[in-house]
Symmetry: C2
Subunit: 103 residues, 2 copies
């Protein structure tokens, strides 16, 4: 997962809101949807991006009533964005472009 994709995933205010909410405590999908005020379908798209970028993780649990629930939690992460890290990221995806073009 390159820096650009990670930043794209985290740049959205809605997804920041999700991270902030989960940083307070892990929650299952429906409860999170209520707290941030969005549909599960939409939340699903956002959490999918966050999970692919490594910001959150999910685990299937059984609640006390025996119902399956997906619990979401925040992963530890620490991104630094400056000239140096950007230069490195650009070198990385230029290398990837060369591989594709060389076939």
């Amino acid at each position: 997962m390159d820096l650009s994709a990670q930043l794209t995933a985290v740049a959205s205010p809605q997804r920041m809101r999700i991270i902030a909410e989960l940083a307070h405590e892990p929650l299952h999908v429906s409860e999170l949807a209520r707290r941030v005020g969005m549909s599960r379908a939409l939340l699903y798209m956002h959490t999918k991006k966050l999970e692919e970028a490594g910001f959150i993780s999910s685990e299937l649990l059984l609640s006390d009533e025996g119902k399956a629930m997906r619990q979401l939690r925040v992963e530890d992460f620490h991104l630094i964005v400056n000239q140096e890290t950007i230069r490195q990221a650009v070198e990385t995806f230029q290398a990837l472009d060369n591989e594709e073009g060389a076939s």
Copy 2:
């Protein structure tokens, strides 16, 4: 300029490429367009976003031949993205939402 807007501005691979190029040396618009391989019109949109977010700055100069040229250069910046900075950013734009709603 909030964190979300800054991250949105810098998350694009094309804009990262522009920053990396300008980090090497300041350039005028047409020269930068040639190096990154895009039209001036498109470059204008990208540099506008980068300038609004504070990543680059521009200055109108006169070249040796007396032609007006806009020189672009990278500003110093250092963004940190973790649970703490995201939590702060979310508080900030929730406060803004309240101001709007209170009118």
